[in-house]
């Protein structure tokens, strides 16, 4: 069964954001199923990723900790939530 998590990345646009995020996912055997990205007001970078963690050994909370490190390094906010959260709030 899939274990889908939504990753939301917000921060000042700069080189390497997608690289740094996908690197962590790759290292933990997490598959990216979908990516949407846009730059708001020409400088705020926003990206949402839908990833499947079912084949990964890492837990959501440990993954969150790994992203906390990345978040400090490249100075962007990285939030992780199970997809159920969004479905329950935005779909009847």
């Amino acid at each position: 069964m899939k274990k889908r998590v939504v990753i939301l990345v917000i921060g000042e646009d700069k080189v390497g954001i997608v690289y740094n995020i996908s690197k962590v996912l790759f290292e933990n055997n997490i598959n990216i199923e979908d990516v949407t990205q846009k730059v708001l007001d020409t400088k705020i970078f926003t990206m949402t990723m839908l990833v499947d963690m079912s084949k990964s050994k890492i837990s959501i909370s440990d993954l969150r900790k790994e992203f906390e490190v990345v978040s400090k390094e490249i100075n962007v906010r990285i939030d992780l939530h199970h997809e159920d959260l969004f479905y329950s709030m935005h779909r009847v």
Binding site: V6, D34, T48, D79, H90
Partner: protein, 454 residues
């Protein structure tokens, strides 16, 4: 997003609610029945072990959900069968010892509060109710996490004025017993009209008679989300505004429903209900008063406040009822003075008084909540304030409660500090008399004619 059909805007909206508008799960409350033949002959230690075992599993489940969803569950609480029903005793000592031991157990396993040291005294006080009331000043002053409540009136049987006087007397004693901390013991006690069985919020939570073994009830936060929606729709007329509030309420209730269902599934127990009350905290962006002022009231307490609150409560209910299959608990809007920055400042600047608060509770439930009054307020005046509030509940067929704190050695206008989520409040002036003929008469106010429905 292609696979999930979720748009980036929807994801951003949820993110803003969680990170900027202080949306969280205010409380996840596990109801535990003590009406269990296995527990009949157990010692206090064995009862605490029983609750501790369930409590630990509950805490683990809550943590698992927090991590998976990335949503904070601020309070993890337990409600038990009203103690006077589960363990009727003649001796106050039993209740005091149980409460003290239980308080330590709760600290050990990180349960924030336990509710259910409760009694039903609408028709008068039985020996076990008297024993509990004798024990309460000591329980409320020597424990941190034990909450207590009682029902002294309901729409079926009326209001017991003699019982209310016992409540007021107990509150005065509790206040004096906790005089070093501004009478905070009284903040852990609420007297109800039409108490509900599945309320997840403290101090009034208990696991009602008729509830099955265990259940999970959820209380959501959300004033910040509603205020933001209103701010973004400055040009809407009132009907449109009601619609915007309904939509926002739907979304936050769905979060509560999701958390409740997940907790019930992990624990293998029944999902009880979501209480859709808007619950403020003394933080920025988390104020019901802020919502009322965003709707357009010049300052909470001014004319228009009751109307705006009626609109808000109704819209929140309509959105919430659509979002959850099990709406329960109190499901109104909380207006606790000391737990809401907007209410605190409205009392400070003189625009909000106890009489207006009482009027507001006619349209929102949940009663006069966290009201600090001078320590000199007499038993008869306290009783009269409680009587007025319970009358609103009994005669409009809804729940109302009173959580009132006489603050020793302080007068109207002084500040009282209760600490943590209980907040702080300027002491409200009350019209105080030493004796009231109404209260001295004692006895019951009969149930309203609307109680004869059969």
């Amino acid at each position: 997003m292609l696979n999930s059909n979720l748009s980036i805007d929807e994801i951003l909206e949820t993110s803003e609610m969680l990170y900027d508008q202080m949306l969280d799960i205010r409380t996840l409350t596990m109801g535990i029945s003590l009406l269990n033949p296995k527990l009949n002959s157990k010692s206090i230690d064995q009862l605490c072990d029983f609750l501790s075992g369930l409590g630990k599993r509950f805490i683990d489940a809550a943590k698992e959900i927090e991590e998976e969803l990335g949503v904070s569950i601020v309070n993890k609480r337990i409600s038990i069968t009203p103690i006077t029903v589960a363990f009727p005793r003649f001796e106050p000592k039993f209740y005091v010892e149980f409460a003290k031991k239980l308080d330590q157990t709760l600290k050990d396993i990180n349960i924030d509060f336990l509710g259910g040291f409760s009694a039903f005294i609408t028709k008068g006080m039985s020996p076990q109710d008297r024993a509990l009331f004798s024990a309460l000043p000591e329980i409320l002053s020597s424990t941190e996490r034990i909450c207590s409540s009682c029902e002294a009136g309901n729409s079926k049987y009326g209001i017991n004025v003699s019982s209310i006087k016992e409540v007021a007397t107990m509150l005065r004693e509790t206040s004096i017993a906790t005089r070093e901390s501004d009478g905070v013991g009284c903040a852990k006690f609420v007297v109800f009209a039409n108490a509900v069985n599945d309320n997840p919020f403290m101090a009034g939570a208990f696991h009602g008679i008729g509830e099955i073994d265990h259940s999970i009830n959820v209380g959501i936060s959300g004033p910040g989300v509603i205020e933001n929606v209103i701010e973004r729709n400055k040009d809407s007329d009132i009907l449109e505004l009601a619609d915007h509030i309904k939509r926002a309420s739907f979304k936050i209730t769905r979060l509560g429903e999701l958390v409740g269902r997940k907790a019930a599934k992990i624990l293998g127990i029944r999902f009880g209900s979501v209480d859709i009350s808007l619950a403020p905290t003394p933080r920025e962006n988390d104020s019901v008063a802020g919502v009322l002022e965003a709707i357009g009231v010049p300052c909470v307490g001014y004319p228009g406040t009751t109307g705006a609150l009626a609109l808000l409560t109704d819209a929140v209910k309509k959105g919430g009822a659509m979002a959850s299959s099990r709406v329960g608990g109190l499901s109104g809007a909380f207006i606790p003075v000391s737990e809401d920055l907007g209410m605190i400042s409205a009392v400070k600047n003189g625009s909000l008084c106890i009489e207006k608060l009482e009027a507001m509770t006619a349209v929102c439930s949940v009663g006069l909540d966290m009201i600090a009054v001078p320590g000199t307020t007499s038993v008869d005046t306290l009783s009269s304030i409680i009587l007025d509030e319970l009358s609103i509940g009994v005669f409009t067929n809804k729940t109302t409660g009173v959580r009132i704190i006489p603050v020793p050695n302080k007068k109207a206008g002084d500040m009282a500090y209760f600490g943590g989520l209980l907040g702080y409040s300027p002491i409200l002036p009350v019209k105080n008399v030493k004796k009231s003929k109404l209260i001295e008469r004692g006895g019951m106010i009969p149930a309203p004619i609307t109680s004869l429905r059969n």
